[in-house]
């Protein structure tokens, strides 16, 4: 952004036009360095906010993300060190050593990566359990866990490790070949995606396996045959690392069934090729996830020639409190039941020492799928007599229920299990995963009423992803606008775009004019757990930006306003937090310790020095502070009527030091101090007018009787004795001004507020940028205060971006009068916001505070009703 500011700003206008050329040139050079430093500082802050957000579990990322953030943060920190040393004639050389220590730590984490590669290995299932999950993937690990630790029936088999995948991938030219094909893909073009998918899969199917791997797989297979005393047919299934990576973002997962010994290596490649479906390529490209980030293991188990199979859940997903487990099943293999193409039998079983069958709903079971003699599987019609018979006898149902309960007890969590009953009448468990209970209310197809509790229905469409959420409408007419997408907004668009993926972790819901339940948008919405109503034909015409609506995807409808009755019990769903606990998350967590924490908060503390810097944030903070000092030093040196540094005399809760770069102070201003009247910088005058607005009354005590929210800590800080002369240590702010420009920066402990503005008669150059970060309060209060600031700014026409506790507002290309007015408001905001985090606890309304502020109620007195707003709470 600052790049843009610099462009708009046109720094060359500081070029000397009068005598004393070299002095002004020196100042101009210093100023350029200063701006460079500010740019890097801004970028580091943005990177930090982004990393913090990812650490909270928002959104997916791969190793590419972790690497790029580390490298970018380090690069900017290094650039700041270079710049401050240029600015100060190498006063801060010590920083290089400090930086090198941090950089070595970062390199160490990056080199190790999430998956330290080991020799490719094949493990017999008898040696596998959950402790081996990172080597063999979740599916194999769960099978081993069931078999070896829960002592439940699982077919014999073996697990091919994720290292084998990485070895295959890195051997030969495969990786480069795949990269080259991926680079050529036009993501928006389905045909291009399909073509790339086909050629990449072809390359994998042709690729030779690394030496040793082939022998290891075949050896494991032979030993399995010896144990079973036959030449077994097997099934191969993908087994990726990570708790929830079995969602399609990481790839379309493939099972290859009824494989003979001759085909086993081909089937292995086929499973790996499943990572390259068109949608998986698309998804990874948009999210910057590499295959190495989701290495694939493969579970290879003896094929069960099943009489009947199906899926069981240890808790009824529809009625989690019923105390029942549910089982479905049909004749033959479970393929049809799992994919939903066969209508299965359905049992509800009461859990207990003696499981009781509560109900049975017979399915039609017209089709069955069975292993074919030549390999593979195929469908055939079910004999009419069998169709009407349950595929399990009652005793069998109870037996299966006991297995399900045993598995649930072993895991201590609700599970979903795939089961098969073999020809010898033994149950086998084929797959086990945690059951995700969604808060969605039943079927996707029910009639949407025309009005609910006085809220008219605005639109109907295809409910493509379940759930119900409310939020303000954000019409995305161009991808550029997405940069400003607010947290909790309802994304409204004509049709799907790959760009939308970037905001889906922030959006509350999705509504489009066109598109269907099988398209990209629908599947993305499901992955992100967002309610989606698609194919409304006219959403972009009917919905107005900012209008609050409730999106009820369960009924495919959109209602005006907030329908509270619908929203009750709706959990934020999806995979948003799924990434926590994955290996890649841990790498980011480790690396973030060297990037994010801020230890240097008080510039007056003896610890405020290079040797105390323990993170890149510390380095940036330190340099940012010193940059101002250096600017003052420089400008003192050249001060001979051209540039001056002075202290501002004004009633403010912090001291302000000013540098004038030209035309920012009246010629009459002399000596070490100036008053507000002597400032001739337009934007600085406006900002200062706002900050010194008498209505702010920041010096007054904030009694508990007034606000009801003030903690003891604030009480002591802002006691009546705390006045002009008794500022908090370190409360010092800086401003660099010129006639049409000001850069104001204020840091108090963890707070950081900065204004950068240019206001002239030249419309296209004008801008105001306001940036706010931090606050020592807890996450909730900080978030509320940021939401408050964001809302005020956006009501003042700013374009607002929020990342964690960083708020970034900018206003461009408005006339001078408007910008000066907004700067006045921003000045008030800076002062009024200082103690706000303390009072913005749970239950306080962001809307109310924003309205209070804008109507001049700067003390946020609840007794005063702002225009057009309800009461607080």
């Amino acid at each position: 952004m600052t790049r843009l500011l610099r462009k708009l700003f046109g720094l060359d206008q500081w070029r000397p036009v009068v005598a004393r050329q070299d002095r002004r040139a020196a100042l101009s050079l210093q100023y350029r360095l200063f701006k460079e430093l500010i740019t890097s500082n801004d970028e580091i802050l943005e990177l930090i906010a982004d990393v913090e957000q990812k650490l909270q579990g928002d959104g997916l990322f791969g190793m590419t993300y972790v690497r790029s953030r580390c490298v970018n943060a380090a690069t900017h920190a290094y650039r700041m060190i270079q710049t401050i040393n240029k600015l100060s004639y190498r006063r801060y050389q010590e920083l290089y050593g400090v930086f090198n220590g941090i950089r070595a730590g970062l390199e160490h984490h990056l080199d190790r990566g999430p998956h330290p590669i080991e020799a490719p290995a094949v493990y017999p299932l008898s040696e596998v359990d959950l402790r081996l999950a990172e080597r063999v993937g979740t599916k194999s690990a769960n099978l081993g866990e069931l078999r070896n630790r829960a002592k439940l029936p699982v077919p014999d088999g073996f697990a091919i490790s994720t290292d084998a995948f990485l070895a295959l991938f890195q051997a030969g030219q495969l990786r480069d070949e795949i990269r080259a094909m991926e680079v050529g893909v036009e993501l928006e073009d389905q045909e291009s995606l399909a073509a790339a998918s086909a050629s990449i899969r072809g390359a994998i199917l042709r690729a030779p396996l690394p030496e040793g791997l082939e022998a290891a797989i075949l050896g494991a297979y032979l030993r399995m045959g010896e144990r079973l005393k036959c030449t077994p047919r097997v099934s191969l299934r993908s087994s990726a690392v990570g708790e929830d990576t079995q969602t399609s973002f990481a790839g379309q997962y493939v099972s290859v069934l009824n494989v003979s010994n001759a085909e086993i290596l081909g089937a292995y490649r086929e499973v790996l090729a499943g990572l390259y479906t068109p949608r998986a390529i698309y998804y990874r490209a948009v999210n910057g996830i590499l295959e190495e980030d989701v290495p694939m293991g493969v579970a290879c188990v003896a094929m069960v020639d099943a009489l009947a199979s199906g899926v069981a859940a240890s808790v009824d997903p529809g009625r989690p409190d019923s105390g029942a487990l549910v089982i479905n099943g049909s004749w033959g293999l479970g393929v049809g039941t799992v994919s939903g193409s066969v209508s299965p039998d359905f049992w509800e079983v009461g859990k207990g020492a003696e499981p009781r069958i509560l109900s049975l709903r017979l399915g039609t079971k017209e089709i069955r799928v069975d292993p074919l003699p030549q390999g593979g599987v195929g469908p055939s019609p079910v004999e009419p007599a069998l169709r009407e018979r349950p595929c399990l006898e009652e005793g069998r149902v109870r037996e299966l229920a006991r297995l399900v309960m045993a598995a649930e007890e072993h895991y201590g969590a609700a599970l979903e299990l795939e089961w098969a009953l073999d020809r010898l009448g033994r149950f086998q468990l084929l797959q086990c995963r945690p059951l995700r209970l969604s808060a969605s209310r039943g079927s996707l197809r029910r009639e949407a009423p025309e009005e609910v509790d006085g809220h008219p229905r605005l639109l109907t469409g295809a409910g493509a992803s379940g759930g119900c959420r409310s939020g303000p409408v954000v019409v995305a007419s161009s991808p550029e606008e997405l940069g400003f997408f607010p947290e909790g907004g309802v994304l409204v668009a004509r049709h799907s775009s790959p760009q939308f993926v970037k905001v889906m972790d922030r959006a509350a819901a999705v509504v489009t004019d066109v598109g269907g339940a099988t398209g990209h948008m629908a599947s993305l919405a499901r992955e992100f757990g967002l309610p989606a109503v698609l194919d409304t034909q006219k959403a972009t015409a009917v919905l107005r930006p900012g209008q609050v609506v409730t999106v009820d995807a369960d009924h495919g409808a959109v209602y005006e306003g907030r329908v509270d009755g619908f929203l009750a019990g709706q959990a934020p769903g999806g995979i948003r937090r799924a990434i926590r606990g994955t290996p890649i998350y841990r790498v980011l967590q480790e690396a973030a310790r060297l990037i994010v924490p801020l230890n240097l908060t008080d510039p007056r503390s003896p610890d405020f020095q290079p040797s105390s810097c323990r993170s890149l944030h510390d380095i940036a903070r330190f340099i940012h502070e010193k940059a101002f000092e250096e600017m003052f030093r420089v400008s003192d040196q050249v001060a001979d009527g051209e540039a001056r540094t002075v202290r501002l005399e004004a009633r403010l809760p912090f001291e302000v030091h000013l540098i004038d770069l030209g035309g920012g102070l009246a010629p009459s201003a002399q000596g070490g101090a100036v008053c507000a009247e002597e400032i001739t910088s337009g934007p600085m005058r406006a900002l200062l007018a706002g900050m010194t607005n008498p209505e702010l009354r920041w010096w007054e005590p904030r009694g508990i009787s007034v606000t009801g929210f003030v903690s003891v800590a604030t009480e002591s800080l802002f006691s009546p004795h705390h006045d002009l002369g008794q500022r908090r240590l370190g409360d010092r702010s800086y401003a660099i001004v010129a006639d049409a420009y000001c850069n104001f920066s204020s840091r108090i402990g963890y707070h950081f507020a900065a204004v950068d503005a240019y206001c002239s008669d030249s419309l296209h150059r004008n801008y105001v940028s306001f940036r706010f970060k931090g606050g020592a309060a807890d996450e909730e209060r900080r978030a509320r205060r940021c939401a408050f600031i964001a809302q005020v700014l956006s009501r003042l026409d700013f374009q607002v971006e929020r990342q964690g506790d960083l708020v970034n507002g900018r206003l461009r290309k408005f006339g001078k009068e408007i910008l000066l007015d907004r700067l006045d408001q921003v000045g008030r905001l800076i002062i009024a916001t200082r103690q706000l985090d303390m009072r913005m606890g749970p239950g306080t309304s962001v809307d109310w505070h924003a309205s209070a502020f804008l109507s001049g109620n700067y003390l946020f007195d609840p007794a005063i009703r702002p225009e057009g707003a309800g009461s607080e709470g």
Binding site: R3, R6, K7, L11, D12, R15, A25, R32, E36, T64, R67, S68, C70, V71, N72, A74, T75, Y78, R79, Q82, R103, L106, E107, L110, A180, V183, G184
Partner: protein, 127 residues
Amino acid sequence: MRVIRLLLVDDEERFVETLGKRLTARGLYVEGTHSGEAALALLQARPFDVVLLDVRMPGMDGIQALREIKKVQPLVQVILLSGNASINTAVEGMRLGAADYLLKPAEIEEVMAKVEEAFEKKRLEEG
């Protein structure tokens, strides 16, 4: 503002071709070449504002090339491009005077932004 003259250096020919086309479409004057040696020869033949330089190339690698470029054309702004993010390479590049360090694959907007920023820097440094 005059047209930015950009030299694109990467041994991956398809990459040079594709990115070159897209940057040309955005109003840049672009020449492409496939080795550090060839880039140096071109820089001695005619002026460029910004060089996008791949780090990993056979023969003279990006870091070596950067060192040589800064000797012959100290004012030209070099942006390093790398498919394999490494802090050490990035820092070494910055130390040798690179304007920036860009990770592949990069979005075209990001490339444009970095190129414009580097060009701006060059104009300021030239005074």
